[in-house]
Assembly symmetry: C2
Homo-oligomer: 396 residues x 2
Amino acid sequence: MGISNRVHEQMGRGSWIRQMFEAGIALRQRLGEERVFDLSLGNPVVEPPQEFRAELLRLAQHPVPGMHRYMPNAGYPETRAAVARQLAAETGLPYQASDVVMTCGAGGGLNVVLRAIMDPGDEVIVLAPYFVEYLFYVENHGGVPVVVDCDEAFNPDLAILERSITKRTRAVLLNSPNNPTGVVYSAKLLDSLAELLRRKAHQHGKAIYILSDEPYRKLVYDGLKYPFVQHRYTPTVVATSHSKDLALPGERIGYVAVNPELPDRGELVDAIVFCNRVLGFVNAPALMQHLVRSLQGVTVDVADYQRKRDFLYARLVGMGYQMTKPQGAFYMFPKSPMPDDRAFVERLLNHNVLVVPGVGFGKPGYFRISYCLDDRVLEGALDGFRAVARELGLTS
Amino acid sequence: MGISNRVHEQMGRGSWIRQMFEAGIALRQRLGEERVFDLSLGNPVVEPPQEFRAELLRLAQHPVPGMHRYMPNAGYPETRAAVARQLAAETGLPYQASDVVMTCGAGGGLNVVLRAIMDPGDEVIVLAPYFVEYLFYVENHGGVPVVVDCDEAFNPDLAILERSITKRTRAVLLNSPNNPTGVVYSAKLLDSLAELLRRKAHQHGKAIYILSDEPYRKLVYDGLKYPFVQHRYTPTVVATSHSKDLALPGERIGYVAVNPELPDRGELVDAIVFCNRVLGFVNAPALMQHLVRSLQGVTVDVADYQRKRDFLYARLVGMGYQMTKPQGAFYMFPKSPMPDDRAFVERLLNHNVLVVPGVGFGKPGYFRISYCLDDRVLEGALDGFRAVARELGLTS
């Protein structure tokens, strides 16, 4: 075989998100853009904020000498400092530039952190439903993902989680606001989780990290104040990106930040920077580092996302679909009205509506809707949802 | 320990290039920019070509809707097609868009290809002196780098290379024009290498890839015509970037291209795209993909690099330093006039001149000069080289 057996096996597991993305492209080519309602990918259609465009134009008109060169692998000191200032303002914790490493998106950030902390055979707890890439990210570096099911409200079940922790547990991966459920973990839940992890780490005589993947941190609704985990648990590393809050997913610009209250954080940051280099990322893209430096306080229009959520939630519940009302991100994770979520997704596809089956997130029996889309697409998709609801005899 | 034992061990091996880079920053802070002559890093001081700046300005003034969004993991079809057209024009081979995957620089490209072809324990032959990252890139994915020494002229010693091939050999990593030596492999050498690899692959009943890392492909001097390896050896994958030819090293934009004459290339490309996704690169930065699409035929001023090479080569040889005259890239790799190359580098450092010891490339007894620098720096460094030559009693 011309390719790795290991990769061949992983490819067989595929990604439902990407499969639906490709199916959407094919369907659009066949039917035309206007007749396809693709709610499958978290690819925001909103454009970056005006401040981003102005800053890009300013830099293009007045280039800074050397602005496309290599910089230290951790990123520009000024960009790291700007991120640290923003984190300090948001959290009240004393973040400094030296606690921040600029990365190629959150995906790059998660990989460099996992590489930095794991030895082969180490276990990382992943909560289901999960962003499917997490399993690969852990496996990339010889780690073992240990999947723990959430409860009915999509909160981690701490009793199951406790039983899943072993001497090899190196980290728990959190994602709040959550993809695919839109759930935001409460302060109370995080307090309990932190207490549990402290107890288990003490019992096993080994640090257990929380790796908090927060690309949707700024997308929370109903005036909710985002509960930060790092106030509650010292060995916390945050990974995030500007893919969603500045609508730049294709640009691969993000960062990881080590808790400024972690005593041996210097060693950890050094290891993260080293991994950023040797995994081939080298550094986060230079121009984007220049741009996001002055945009740390800027966010896309969150009220608009909330409006889209409210619109879609009300309509779908009105048709008889059942779901937990999402508090953040731009996803919904309703129950599949058919036992087989893949069959349901196929049925929607017959009405030119694309969503992702729950099996793609390790949670069969549900499906994911992404609503970071033009109102036209959300409105257009309603016909398909309504038709299938009727076919299946749903009632609200 | 808060970090991975494996990473801790790797960090101990460090990078002399990065160490000198950091030493240079510290020295500049102490003495001021004007008094430090840092020839340690391949970080071109030339700015990107005017065509790049014009295109960036055009896109900033007239943004294309959605130009910062996700695209297929392989990159924009239009960008892949533009790269394929340029490759076809340069090589005469029938490259198509589907043979090209846009990557986060050549470093990202090498990692996704190595991941795609290797299983744990597979061996990859690396020629010494080598770009030190190669060892990490192979180890990242559970591979074993097998180091093969070059001959006195820095060409691979095919007799040693033949003896180093085993049943586990998966690839030979080539880098021409070479970092650190500036050597360009001749057509004749590549013919012999191709024949050897075909014979060994047949003997072991297993494909052996050539992975050709070509970031300096367009930087060749004296009217030399670059000898392409893919004409000579079908299982060749090229990795390159626009870090050097468009002077964009910080932007992490490059690509890999699978030989269009490889029969099962579709499977290989699929695996490369998959690895680009799951290793956390996701895709090459979007804006840079838009920019390099129309710049495939553009290159920085190669004549200027040749002038710098001629200037420095003549002066250093005149002082008694011994070296092979480089034919490409922007490095020289002279013999260390002291048996201990690290001691020599320290001695130069006393004169505020920074170079990298050969030990950093697996070749003690030499040192690397990078000359992609302002003439002021090259001229200023001559005093230090001259002083050390006198101290050591060199004569031309």
